[in-house]
């Protein structure tokens, strides 16, 4: 499981304040903290408090701050191509990066895939296109297929492609989680080698009560369906333990009496 730590995001108060104060220390600390808690990749998101015309510069600053403490893969989280390029360029000076993300419109896919190719980066492809978020399994699959085809066209290896079926808050549409689970298992059959499948987990419980419980339960179900990357908070120990147990139960890691410890020690 590629755990993409979500905590370096201007929407969180500690990081938002650090951005305003241009203080890299909280950003560096959060990077290190997430990695020691089991993150494999770190998501970098400037948030919405930063004015649009300053986002590229803030992205560069965030990436440079994180790169002072780690060369772990970075997930550059921004919808704009110009900001994305700045972030990916800065991140790949030392280490690898993932484009987070592109939507499925043909022209947008082409431009973002070209960027992925140029920097040998991973790329997250959302099940969203000109018609909005794809609601049914078929519609999600169609965009997934389009994304895989665009990757092949641009000569981006399928090992670098992450399909995101888009998970919506459960209190908005209770049928959606089931549809996402079905989509995950079908995404894994789209190509050989299969693309990765990723979700932004916390969106599922947005506005709901018992958020932790909802997130944990769904993550275990999604792993069983074939999920192999997830954007979430690695500092949520209960969630991480549930993930480790789910992978062990699926025989993806070898059981030992200390299997929880082994997961972090074996990294």
């Amino acid at each position: 499981m590629n755990v993409i730590g979500e905590r370096i995001n201007g929407m969180f108060k500690d990081i938002g304040d650090a951005i305003s104060a241009k203080d890299p220390a909280p950003v560096r600390d959060m990077a290190t903290k997430q990695l020691t808690h089991g993150a494999d990749t770190l998501d970098i998101n400037v948030g919405t408090r930063v004015p649009k015309d300053e986002r590229a510069e803030v992205m560069r600053w965030l990436v440079d701050s994180v790169r002072e403490v780690t060369d772990a893969p970075l997930s550059i989280d921004n919808p704009a191509l110009s900001t994305m390029r700045v972030g990916i360029e800065a991140a790949t000076k030392k280490g690898t990066a993932i484009i987070n993300s592109t939507t499925g419109q043909a022209d947008k896919l082409e431009k973002f895939m070209a960027l992925a190719k140029e920097f040998d980066a991973g790329i997250i492809c959302l099940a969203i296109d000109e018609n909005g978020v794809a609601a049914s399994t078929d519609a999600k699959l169609e965009i997934g297929m389009r994304s895989v085809a665009a990757a092949m066209e641009a000569d981006v290896p399928l090992e670098h492609v992450y399909l995101d079926p888009i998970i919506l808050p459960v209190n908005c549409d209770q049928a959606a989680p089931g549809i996402v689970l079905e989509t995950i298992s079908q995404f894994k059959m789209l190509s050989d080698p299969a693309p990765h499948v990723v979700i932004g987990l916390s969106n599922l419980s947005q506005g709901a009560s018992e958020r932790g419980l909802i997130n944990r339960t769904f993550l275990a179900m999604a792993i069983a369906a074939g999920l192999d990357a997830c954007i979430h908070d690695p500092l949520d120990t209960e969630l991480m333990h549930e993930m480790i147990a789910a992978e062990m139960l699926l025989n993806k890691s070898i059981y030992s009496d200390s299997f929880l410890k082994a997961h972090l020690q074996g990294r």
Partner: protein, 321 residues
């Protein structure tokens, strides 16, 4: 004509590299050292990844004359087995062993019950007799090993020997000794992959570095559980190549000890006239066991018969050409 595309597996992990033996530049006295592990693919699949270090062939030497070894084996080794130093020297100089595995069988309370100091003297004598790296194995009596092994560890301090074996229930004393004296360590588990991993976790939790650890998942010989050993070792290797660092350790196999326990290896020609010549039958048994386990992913093969050693070195040479 378009040729079929090769199905090449991509692996994300590799086996930890471990060095046994320390030369003068590192504070030891070894004239040769061995480096094991490092494989980034299944054994001998050189088209899928690197295997920087070929398997090492070691020979077993005891601290006492092994009177119950089969006649064919004893005949091949001759009187040398009466003196561990001479025996070890012959293994290296005449039979081509890359390392010596000294088994302190005589320290066992039911055998000679020799003292820790007597055992340490044997260790020193064997170290003085050859320049190859030394593997030191206790008598597999926990209580006695916990007295003997620290003394032997200290006697060989700085030589980066490989000491064995720790288990899930008995590891702290030997881990501490190896840590203090700079040795590498063997973790033993009874053909159980879950316990193998647990032993590695327990040892590394004591702060012992993974690059000084080797796994012994116990060896089953041909006809006596080799399939189990094979599948456990293979599964461990697959997990390691899939980036499970707690399983990514080199593996040692006690081939000679297990193969020569089989009745097919040790029965005399008189006892079993239809089974072929006893002088070669055991050698084949030992060699077949070793050759099979090489394919499962093995890094140190501890052998007994000189002819099996020569043949195994040929096999390894041909597979790594």
């Amino acid at each position: 004509m378009k040729l079929m595309e090769a199905a090449v597996e991509k692996w994300s992990g590799a086996i930890q590299e471990v060095t046994i033996g320390a030369g003068a530049d590192e504070g030891g006295t070894r004239t040769s050292t061995v480096r094991i592990g490092g494989a980034g693919a299944l054994p001998f699949m050189d088209f899928e990844g690197v295997t920087p270090n070929p398997p090492v062939v070691a020979m077993e030497v005891w601290d006492c004359e092994p009177t119950d070894w089969p006649a064919a084996l004893r005949a091949a080794l001759g009187d040398r087995v009466k003196d561990p130093a001479k025996w070890a020297r012959a293994c290296v100089e005449e039979f081509g062993a890359d390392a010596i595995c000294l088994k302190l069988a005589n320290t066992h309370p039911d055998e000679g019950n020799t003292s820790p100091q007597e055992a340490a003297d044997v260790v020193k004598a064997v170290l003085a007799a050859t320049g190859v790296p030394l593997i030191i194995w206790g008598s597999e009596n926990d209580e006695k090993d916990n007295q003997v092994m620290p003394v032997c560890s200290q006697a060989a301090a700085g030589e980066r020997c490989l000491l064995g074996a720790v288990t899930e229930d008995n590891y702290k004393t030997l881990v501490a000794a190896c840590q203090a004296d700079g040795h590498a360590l063997i973790g033993l588990s009874p053909i159980d992959i879950n316990i193998a991993k647990q032993v590695n976790i327990l040892v590394s939790e004591m702060g012992f570095p993974l690059d000084r650890m080797v796994m012994y998942q116990t060896t089953g010989s041909l006809g006596y559980g080799i399939e189990y050993t094979y599948s456990i070792q293979e599964r461990g290797r697959l997990a390691a190549l899939g980036a499970d660092k707690m399983m990514a350790l080199p593996v040692i196999c006690m081939v000679g000890q297990e193969a020569w326990r089989a009745k097919e290896a040790k029965a005399t020609t008189e006892e079993q006239p239809t089974w072929g010549n006893a002088d070669t039958r055991g050698v084949y048994w030992e060699l077949a066991t070793a050759a099979t386990l090489l394919q499962a992913g093995s890094d140190i093969m501890v052998m007994r018969h000189p002819d099996a050693v020569r043949a195994l070195k040929d096999v390894v040479g041909n597979l790594t050409k």
